[in-house]
């Protein structure tokens, strides 16, 4: 076992983590060039699009040329799927007789299929392994395996779990609050040392402990680290979670399409795994590249040449590259991922994402981490029709303690100070239970929910 452990440990000391930035750039250029050439030669989906755009793969020499390649949206992929009548769209490297699974994305707007062969899994899992190492997973630990098999993440996680030689603990159910009881039982009964799950599920587990009158510190006594994904965690939320649970909490940003970005122990953003993917930040309406520090649409290119290949894929996420270097010494760029662009909403004529509200809510100690939904008076596609005077409408779960009147005043004041808009706050018993929570709900739907 010891030699195995040493072998695994050396896999995390990736030397590129601290390479000089210029050297990383050269590596990135090489990878992008190779990927574009590979896609043009092998993947009909890309060849057609590049031909239509009149771009020869050889002309792509660096990020600026690369940014001229057409972006791939979910709608493009769906169209290709409808045309082919198959989950195969021509984006897949599809060797015959390959051992493979079909993974899916968890999007709210429909299903996307990914062809995940074993080489895809090895590439992706081998890199995610480092992210889990950063988060504190160590060889031989007991680890809760909760990612459902339909999600590509399961194929990656099972790969790294085996490489770590963990003892895998599988609770019954899926990431929905009604299974939180099973998760709590499994944590108490089997004492896993490492957990990874979506943030709303972790909150559901906490709520279940409270419902049963269990002390969180006792339930989590055997847990050393929790890796949460699926929603951005504010610094205050993370500190509160760590204090409540008595464990180290790390967050990662990932996407089925190949994004891996992970917090280091500085917790100042996610280091982009530059050996795995390349991220552009573009102006949402124009598609123009934005400089570091500015918020924009995240466009992902995954370097994994196996399975379904994503080049300039519009993730639909809003984020930015952090300008300052990280104190940990890694040169891999830091990024922040805030939310789905679809979750943007307008208040008093200005646009925000739920993360902006989260930062305000978490400033009030009694409300840190408390779930909320922004109720959007008009759907995102009609944001221009939003009334310029409509305030920020917030439905927030009633906290366990505190005077509601004064909490409401403090929260409205905080929102006024940080976002410079008025807030209409509504206390609710509970919010709709969804995989990744319900950060934004359109007014029509909210009324239906209220009617029950």
């Amino acid at each position: 076992m010891r030699r195995d452990q040493e072998k695994v440990a050396t896999e995390f000391m990736d030397q590129t983590e601290t390479w000089p930035i210029e050297k990383l750039r050269r590596l990135r250029r090489r990878r992008l060039r190779a990927l574009v050439r590979y896609a043009y030669a092998n993947l009909p989906f890309y060849r057609r699009r590049y031909d239509e755009a009149g771009i020869a793969p050889e002309s792509v020499k660096g990020p600026v040329d690369f940014a001229r390649l057409p972006m791939v949206t979910k709608a493009d992929i769906r169209r290709a799927r409808e045309d082919s009548g198959s989950f195969l769209t021509g984006m897949e490297s599809f060797p015959n007789g390959d051992l493979a699974t079909i993974g899916m994305t968890s999007g709210t707007t429909g299903t996307d299929f990914l062809y995940c062969n074993r080489k895809w899994r090895q590439f992706q899992g081998g890199r995610l392994l480092r992210a889990y190492w950063w988060a504190g997973l160590r060889p031989g630990m007991r680890m809760m395996l909760t990612v459902p098999a339909w999600h590509c993440w399961a194929a990656e996680e099972s790969y790294l779990a085996e490489r770590f030689g963990v003892v895998g603990v599988v609770p019954w159910g899926t990431f929905l609050p009604r299974f939180a009881g099973n998760f709590v039982d499994a944590i108490r009964d089997l004492r896993p040392e490492f957990l990874s799950m979506f943030l709303p599920m972790l909150y559901a587990v906490q709520a279940e402990c409270r419902r049963r009158g269990l002390a969180l510190h006792e339930v989590f006594a055997g847990v050393r680290c929790v890796l949460v994904v699926g929603a951005p965690l504010t610094p205050a939320s993370r500190q509160k979670l760590e204090a409540d649970l008595g464990v180290d909490v790390y967050t990662g940003a990932g996407a089925t399409e190949g994004l891996i970005a992970m917090e280091c122990s500085e917790h100042r953003g996610y280091h982009l795994f530059v050996d795995t993917c390349y991220l552009e930040v573009v102006d949402p309406p124009t598609g123009a590249l934005l400089p570091p520090g500015e918020r924009g649409r995240l466009v992902l290119t995954a370097f994994n040449p196996h399975g379904t290949v994503y080049i300039r894929f519009d993730t639909g996420d809003l984020g930015r590259v952090v300008k300052a270097p990280c104190a940990c010494g890694r040169t891999w760029p830091l990024i922040e991922v805030y939310d789905r662009l679809d979750n943007m909403f307008a208040a008093e004529g200005r646009e925000f994402v739920p993360y902006d509200v989260r930062l305000c809510v978490d400033e009030i100690p009694e409300l840190t981490g408390v779930p909320f939904s922004v109720i959007r008076s008009v759907p995102r596609v009609r944001a221009d029709r939003a009334s310029p005077t409509s305030p920020l409408w917030l439905a927030i779960q009633r906290p366990l303690s505190g005077n509601l009147r004064s909490l409401e005043d403090s929260l409205a004041a905080e929102i006024g100070r940080k976002l410079r808009v008025k807030a209409a706050i509504q206390w609710v018993e509970e919010l709709p239970a969804r995989w990744k929570g319900a950060p934004v709900i359109d007014e029509m739907e909210w009324k239906e929910i209220a009617r029950g």
């Binding site: 198959s86 051992l99 395996l145 459902p148 339909w150 099972s158």
Partner: protein
């Protein structure tokens, strides 16, 4: 070669050698299992206390002298001992790589633990069910169940650590899973339309939302799917429900029985219509509680499963509530399998 691999190799010889293990071989395996369990598992130490394993003469003797176990018994043992494994797990030298929480409606969470080679054998049992359906290279197979269900996690070596060959890998099929919640009907229909699975395994409580969603979208599932297999843990939908589904969909509908506490998987055969049991992996009896074994079946009894590959969490004469009568081997599709007529 590790011990686990050697064990797998030995099993390959048994299962690939054509035909079920002989009575003598199976008796030897049952004895070995009893010896192992009575020495190492506190639960079986208690229930098998004093049993002279070598004096068991044949399978009938096994049935009359070895007590039954069941879910209620495991729950009671969990309550009495506080042990999540109900004392069943062979401790402490058997460490195991995987622990599964069992599906249950009850308040008492129970678990099974498996080592690498056991997980592999379990996956092979699922693979045999797939093979009986005629699934073959390049076929796509869909599963509408939770990721925590053996139907899902044994489907591919990519879904579970330590399983190098899931059911799909042995047959070169390509699996796709859906989550087992009934709200996922829409996604199940999308899977049908774009993946066109030859077989669609569906939790029985997801059948209704699946069919309803297909109707809502005006999709005829038989244009996209070859067969549906409905599955449940320790239970089965009635033959009548299956016929109604088959008539409504114009598709063959088969039943698959999961007994997770005994790490059991068996499927209804497209050819003979009987429940097939891999006799290399399981020794299955029909029992009438209080009467021990129901001699050579006819009226039928509860299925009692002895798992021949599970070492870490043994399952010995585990009685599930499903009623069946024994028919015995002889199906041309898989002549070595034991067969049962579901009641």
């Amino acid at each position: 070669m590790t011990r686990g691999e050697a064990h797998d190799k030995a099993r390959d010889v048994v299962t690939a050698g054509g035909g079920a293990p002989s009575g003598a071989t199976r008796l030897a395996r049952l004895r070995r299992l009893l010896r192992h369990a009575s020495r190492r598992s506190p639960y079986f130490q208690a229930s098998l206390g004093g049993l002279q394993v070598d004096s068991i003469l044949d399978e009938r003797d096994f049935a009359s002298r070895v007590p039954l176990s069941d879910l209620e018994g495991l729950e009671a043992a969990r309550a009495a001992t506080g042990d999540p494994f109900s004392g069943r797990k062979c401790a402490p030298e058997c460490r195991g790589q995987l622990v599964f929480q069992l599906e249950s409606d009850g308040e008492v969470p129970l678990y099974v633990a498996l080592g690498r080679s056991e997980a592999q054998s379990y996956a092979r049992a699922l693979g045999r069910c797939w093979r009986l359906l005629g699934l073959d290279k390049g076929d796509r197979v869909a599963i509408f169940d939770f990721g925590s269900s053996p139907l899902s996690y044994l489907a591919s070596g990519a879904f579970l650590p330590y399983v190098s060959r899931g059911a799909a890998d042995g047959l070169a099929c390509i699996p796709v899973c859906n989550d087992g919640v009934s709200q996922m009907g829409q996604r199940a229909v999308e899977i049908a339309r774009f993946v066109r699975p030859r077989a669609f395994f569906v939790r029985s409580d997801c059948m209704f939302p699946f069919i309803q969603e297909a109707e809502r979208q005006g999709i005829s599932l038989r244009d996209y799917i070859g067969a549906i297999v409905v599955a449940e843990n320790e239970g089965l939908p009635s033959a009548r429900s299956c016929r109604a589904w088959a008539d409504a969909l114009g598709l063959p509908v088969y039943r698959l029985l999961r007994v997770d506490a005994a790490m059991f998987l068996g499927i209804e055969c497209p050819s003979c219509g009987l429940l097939h049991v891999d006799s290399g992996s399981y020794f299955v009896e029909t029992v009438v509680p209080g009467r021990g074994r129901d001699a050579d079946s006819d009226g039928g009894g509860r299925l009692a499963i002895t798992n021949l590959f599970a070492r870490l969490t043994p399952a010995i004469r585990y009685a599930c509530p499903v009623l069946a009568g024994r028919i015995g081997p002889g199906c041309p599709l898989s002549p070595e399998d034991d067969r049962f007529r579901l009641v």
